[in-house]
């Protein structure tokens, strides 16, 4: 499978996960969105030396992995590019903040090391929370939740269509590179001399495709607003889910 095909497979796999008939997937998207945003807000609000408090916040992703029947290993594989970048942010803290905090045998733990770990954990937990949201909620439902809290329609439509167009772009790129590789069998990758024309072709084809999709939308009554339908009522179960997590986040923050 080529890299482009693999990327496409990953996007489709996320759609499949979000479409599963699981307990977590059936929670109202607005509730899941609020819980996710609250979790990220509480997580990043921990003090840079509050490592113990932050570690306790790990209970939320752990619980969601179980409730959503999601594979932790697959998640790590999927986030293997993002997570190192997130971890990289705090890498220089030990060099700037060298104040000793404690000594573990021969090893002196500095404040910079603790702040590095908390920064990394904040990043990892935030990325995991966002991942768990999209793995249990389709893009259409997330967008409908955004509209419920009055995020402007144009912005929500941008998010939805960007997500959809990524697949189109990857498909077009896959076709172009397949056609190229079939006629350039001894080359590894695409020769730099044709990067420009291939990118141009990709842009033109993607624009044509996007135009056709847009025409299809307007022909079926689209006038700038996506109507998602589905269940818009928040049930008692949803309210309970929101209350339990809100109370837990508050408790974890205040302990």
């Amino acid at each position: 499978m080529s890299k482009l095909d693999h990327a496409l497979y990953e996007i489709h796999h996320m759609d499949t996960l979000a479409d599963k008939d699981q307990w977590l997937n059936r929670i109202h998207p607005l509730v899941k969105l609020i819980v996710t945003v609250s979790y990220i807000a509480v997580t990043v609000s921990f003090h840079k030396y509050s490592l113990a408090g932050l570690l306790r916040m790990g209970v939320y992703p752990a619980a969601l992995f179980i409730l959503g029947d999601l594979s932790f290993t697959d998640t790590l594989k999927r986030l293997r590019i993002v997570l190192p970048l997130v971890c990289f942010i705090g890498l220089f803290n030990p060099f700037f903040d060298r104040q000793p905090v404690t000594i573990l045998g021969m090893f002196t733990v500095t404040a910079g090391m603790i702040s590095m770990v908390t920064l990394m954990l904040k990043g990892i937990f935030s990325v995991l929370a966002a991942y768990l949201l999209i793995a249990s909620t389709s893009i259409e439902k997330i967008c409908s939740a955004l509209r419920m809290i009055h995020i402007p329609s144009i912005l929500v439509t941008q998010i939805l269509l960007t997500y959809r167009y990524i697949s189109l772009l990857l498909e077009e790129a896959g076709r172009i590179t397949d056609a190229y590789s079939l006629r350039a069998p001894k080359q590894k990758g695409v020769h730099f001399k044709v990067w420009g024309s291939l990118a141009g072709q990709l842009l033109l084809r993607s624009m044509d495709r996007a135009e056709a999709v847009y025409q299809s939308m307007t022909l079926r009554g689209y006038r700038g607003e996506f109507y998602h339908g589905g269940n818009t009522r928040i049930s008692k179960k949803d309210t309970a889910y929101l209350l339990v997590w809100s109370c837990l986040f508050a408790a974890l923050k205040l302990i």
Partner: protein, 249 residues
Amino acid sequence: MSHIHISLEHVNYSYDTSHSVLKDITFTAREHDAIGLIGANGAGKSTLLKLLVGLNLNYEGSIRIEDIPVEKNTLPVIREKTGYVFQDSDSQLFLSTVKEDVAFAPRNYGLSEDEVNRRVEHALANIHIEHLRDRQIYKLSGGEKKMVSIATILSMIPDIILMDEPSIALDPKNRRRLIHILNQFEHLKIIASHDLDMILDTCSRVILLSNGEIIRDGNTVDILSDKELLEAHGLELPLCMQGFSQISH
């Protein structure tokens, strides 16, 4: 006398001033008509279909759908009455699941969720693809995508169905199924296609286009059996009329 749904009078259209794509197109279509739009590549078939739903405007002449002129401000009404099936199903289907895509149009027209669900079920049942309801679009085969594309327009309950090369890329079984479904529809249908055998099976009337002009408008069998006429305009007799001698040859 049946009601006139589509009326074109002296329609001219060009993408730029130097080259006319459609020249002096005049015809009417009534309810329950099944019209095959045939012609060689570049004859103007797709352009003509697009004019009917206002995807191309700035034409000269008159185009009226159910007596409503095709203009920018009338497009929502016209498009509610007209279902357009794209040649490429991947352009038509852009949401994640079949149900979401089929429900897209009814939701845009402000129908209640109960009515939307009813229409989705009805559209899927109409072409016998209820089992695809919760399937993800990317997992569908080419034939299934075509059927779902048709369902997306049926959920609008259109009076008119326009199809651009519907049988392209379908295997024989799916093609046969498509023909069967098209023959069930009582809507006014205009089908642009090179598949003359399908046109023969589904349409009672044919409009032959060549270089943007209507060359002939009449009975399907009369036109599709006229070898000289077809060959003069870049087409050939339908395979079923070519005879065994030519097939063996």
